[in-house]
Amino acid sequence: MELSPEEEGKTSHVIDMTTSEKVVDLLNQAALIPTDEKLNVLKQVQELIINKDPSLLDNFLDEMIAFQTDKSIEVRKFVIGFIQEACKRDNELLLRLIANLNMLLKDESVNVVKKAILTLTQLYKVTLQWLVRSKAVSDMQEACWDLVTQMKGDVLALLDSENDGVRTHSIKFTESLIITLSPRTSDSDVPKRQEGDISLDKVPKDHTYIRYDVLCEEGKSALEKLLKFMVHPAISSINLTTALGSLATIARQRPMFMSEVVQAYETLHANLPPTLAKSQVSSVRKNLKLHLVAVLKHPCSLEFQGQISTLLLDLGMPQSEITRSTPALREQRKRPRHEQYTEGKKVKMEPALIEDDEDKEEPAPLTIPKPAAVPVAQSAIDLTAEFLHPLLSPENVANLVLISMVYLPDVMPASFQATYTPVESAGTDAQIKHLARLMATQMTAAGIGPGLEQCKAREDDAVKEEDNEEDSGAKDLLIKRKVPAVMMGQAISVVGGYAEKAPTTEAPAAVKRLPEPILPTAQTKMTGASGRKKVFRLSDVVQPLSDTQIEKLTSRAIKRILHSEKAISQSGMSHVRVKLLSRLVTQFEGMMKEDVLEFILDDIRTRSDLAFSLLYQEYNTYLSQLPTGLLDSYDHCLFTLLSGLQEKPEQRDGLFTKLVLEAPIITESALEVIRRYCEDESRVYLGMTTLKELIVKRPSRQFQYLHVLLDLSSHEKEKVRTTALAFLKRMYEKDQLRDYIEKFALNYMQLLVHPNPPSLLFGADKDTEVAAPWTEETVRQCLFLYLSLLPLNHRLVHELASVYTEAIADIKRSVLRAIEQPIRGMGMNSPELLLLVENCPKGAETLVTRCLHILTDKVPPSPELVERVRDLYHKRVPDVRFLIPVINGLEKNEVIQALPKLIKLNPIVVKEVFNRLLGTQHSEGSSSVSPLTPGDLLIALHNIDSTKCDMKSIIKATNLCFGEKNVYTSEVLAVVMQQLMEHSPLPMLLMRTVIQSLTMYPRLGGFVMNILSRLIVKQVWKYPKVWEGFVKCCQRTKPQSYSVLLQLPPAPLTSVFERCPELREPLLQHVLSFTPHQQAHIPASIMAVLEANKKTEPKPAEPVVGEQSEPFTAPAASVSEEAPTATLKEPETPDQHDPAVTKDEEEPMEQEQSDPVIQEESVNTVSQVELARASETPSPQPEPAEEPMETAQSEPSDLQEPEKDVEADSAESEAGSGSKDVE
């Protein structure tokens, strides 16, 4: 082309003379005329040289360009337009004109600048296309491209211009640039007019100068710039509108960027710049809507349809309209297409420069990371939204709203007012998703949120991966830049040779070179700087400190940091100090650690953060040396802190707990401190709560912690122990801990089998195994845990039984004492307890009995229990004591059957039995209905066969009954006596009971007289014991009894007087006081007995007696022998014979009967004497003497069994002592 002017000038000069001349003429005119006309003229010239005769273009180029310095803006703008047209017409002109454009780009008038930007927008594409088309790129072309690239950068920088219009134009330039510098794909919208435009896919990857990958990156960075520009909070409404439009264009023409665009729209919609006025907000929203619809109509919007329609809905577009704008589902777009483009357009290689080979290979790897960038930006919001979505519960959202109320501005911002649409679908999943997305957009924009972090991490990785490749790329870039710079000099001279006619063309060349020299100068500066460093050597100036100095300095430094607490906290940098301290202290061994710990402990409440930081740092250090590292240092730190806390007297906060729970590892010594903490009675609860937390939250070592708690369960301090037990009981419910606890408890209980308590029970320090005997304390120690578990797991009761059978007596006793509470807790319905009763292991009888007692102590026995006990009693262990607890559950006859055995037991036991039977034991709640009424019981006692039970026991038993005055009222006794009367033969103790009743209730006198009379009818004298009592009774009830005595036949009456001579005289007097008529009713025989004091009377009766039984005569003799003693005793009754009994027949019978009885007893006289003696004493009962002995024994235990037997024996022997003495 350069050659053409000269050539053409000669050949076509004549033909074109007129045109050329016209142009010259016009140009001359233009120099002189005012602007308006000048423009007109210049337009004509442009028309002539560009369209009519382009051959003239080169000739008049300089003249035309000269107008770029015209003072008229319009003229300068015209020149820009001319440059554009000229360059489009002849691309070669770019080499000469681009620098001029660059000058105009920096024009003082914004309108010129704007025009220049518009032109550059066009020429950038033109230049690129031209260069791509060129087979060999000349140095000039390279320089030209470099300048264009530089200008591109300048225009991008104009996004920050102060002028709104310039910014607007810069945005449009950026838009065009992005589209040019990205590959056109099959799904790109291509405006017809731009079909021929260059785009990245048409740039060969092996171009000698233009680098595909660099352009690609430039395009992306331009997009980034644009996006960044858009989120500027103070963006003007027009800029924003422009940017919105640009993004829509980009999205449609380069769908690969659609996600960024949609995301930018989302962000904008949620963050309309606060500076916008109300009407501007509506304008922007209108635009947003318009562009969103445009994007939506593009087939590639498919995957963003959800987001776009949500936005459109928010912008107030009806759903129907959105649907109308949504493209029908289409085949998936094929992104990889643009790869094929480049392949197809591959420019044939020139056998060119060395660099070509490098270029050829490099682009391939560099293109790889490119697609990754697209999803990354997209997913930051996506990830955050996903993260937020589940968090947006109604409660959380409500809280957010409440919190943000505080930050609401006083006046409603215009943007909000315009944006606000009532939330129609509140609470639906779609709306929550939308909300999550809105928030995610905000968070991402603010630079927070998990999505952003993940993306950043991912990007970092990507960058790292790329680093190596990029390094080589960067190096190449440097090399390449240098090469053209060097070659430029030569090139210019060559060009200059051609361009001799045009002095102005030098200017652009110079301009072109402008950007180039910058690089070399910068490089020399850098080398200069590095050279200087060598002069100064630190080591020359300084000397090493001595070790002590170092130590001193470090410790002082630490101390300063340590004590600058207040000052630093005021500055708000405490966390830095804490971090610094912990790092320093853990890094350097030595005293400082102690100092810091001490410092912390001085006021641990406020310095806990330092404590934690230090602890973690220690742990971190340990971890970092893991295979060989020791925990010592960490352990020391934790131990010191915990001990410090433990020793401090007051602290309400849970710092100790917090420290324990947040410590990464609990060491042995730390556990020891925790244990000590738990042993402190004032903190036991807190300590154990902590321990519990440890057990629950650190399963890997839970048994270790649990063991501590278990140990504490037998602690000597009651509070510690009970608390531990309470905690353990709760933990026992947890399956994974259950076995361990149970095993521990059983093992501990198992210790009871040993003859001496193992040292374990005394703690590790006391080694006194051999000497110490079991004590109540030690036994209990073994049982605490077990017994507290027992109510939770009844099965365990069998273990106790087996241990019990093996244990020694002392332990047994302690066990029996200890089990009351837990057994009661189990209740009598516990199947396991019933099973125990049923099986009753050998040796565990007392245990079972005790259990039964405990169970029935307050409540009546259940039928099941009674059944088991009955079975046990009848089939296996016929020990009547088993029956006692369930006695009220037994049948009446069963009780009566067992009664002889029962009353033979220890008096205390007997008393208890009676209490149960009489219901006198428990004041309230004993609804147990005894199978026997009190009357029944007393009668049953009277009816006990004396062969089965000794009289003494029966007497004691009846005495127990009489002791219960509340139960045995006069009425009850009357009924009893009445019924006893009916028995035949008369119960031996009848008269005893009568006398006792009378003593208790004197008003029963009348009733007793009646009884006595009826006894006479029953020939009471035939029962010696009863007769004896009869006489006694009469004696006690005189004078009431006189009438009864008078009813006796003479013989018994004689017997009465024999036994009780002092009765005779009063009775006689009594009869004598009768009226004669009354006296007449007294038989003579009676009177004889009354009056006669002769002893011959009984004799005639003897033969009668003899008839019946011979052997009895001898005793009778002894009776008579005895008589004098009796008379001796009571001399005042000589006239006992007076009331003579007429009925002779009766008398002998009485004699006969009474004698044998006496004979049987073989001590009858003695008994009489005894009775007589008793009658003299105020109380007829011999029992009171015995009672104190009984009360001496308090424990109902089998251990007393032998004693009791002995006791019973002694009681019996005592009872019989009188007779023995006589014998």
Partner: protein, 194 residues
């Protein structure tokens, strides 16, 4: 101050009342102004609200005038339609449709939001070429004679202010804010590119 006079377009629905009123005044004040309608047809009030007179954009004002005179001269004189058409035919021969005009403007003023939307849609649907900006401003004017006259004055004032700025693009935002406050009505404003 821009060296060349602003190229202004005033657009309403039928290019009869509001845009023509503004056209009239602006051209008298020396603006390079054109007026358009965006509707698919030209509609004029008829004998009843549901019976408008509908013409296409090829019909001249003259023809409409004659048509209405023939239909009901009295009615259309009374409601001012004939007067309006008479004025219109003296400005230009027939209504023009904005969508069919390829000329480039610096400023497009619309007279109601629907028209504004249509203009934006049209401008955005055009292929971009020079990237030369065009500002579109909406001034809401009710479609009656009085409002049209008031609106026309407002538009004229606005255009004059814009014309007198040193750098229209840099100042238009602020200017519109002031105008909004002064006239107490909101303006929609955006920029499009040719």
């Amino acid at each position: 101050m821009p060296s060349h006079p602003l190229r202004v377009a005033v657009v309403c629905s039928s290019n009869q009342n509001r845009s023509m009123e503004a056209h009239n005044i602006l051209s008298k004040r020396g603006f390079d102004v054109r007026s358009f309608g965006t509707g698919s047809h030209v509609k004029l009030p008829g004998p009843a609200p549901d019976k408008p007179n509908v013409y296409d954009f090829k019909t001249t004002y003259e023809q409409m005038y004659n048509d209405l005179v023939r239909k009901d001269k009295e009615l259309y004189t009374q409601n001012g339609i004939l007067h309006m058409l008479d004025r219109n035919r003296r400005i230009k021969s027939k209504p023009e449709r904005f969508q069919n005009c390829k000329e480039k403007f610096d400023l497009v003023i619309t007279c109601e939001e629907r028209v504004y939307d249509q203009v934006l849609e049209d401008l955005n649907s055009r292929e971009q070429e020079t990237l030369q900006p065009v500002h579109v401003i909406n001034v809401d004017i009710q479609d009656n004679h009085e409002e049209a006259t008031l609106g026309a004055f407002l538009i004229c004032e606005l255009c004059q202010c814009i014309q007198h700025t040193d750098d229209m693009e840099n100042e238009i935002d602020e200017l519109l804010q002031e105008f909004e406050e002064k006239s107490n009505r909101p303006f929609l404003h955006t920029v499009c590119f040719y």
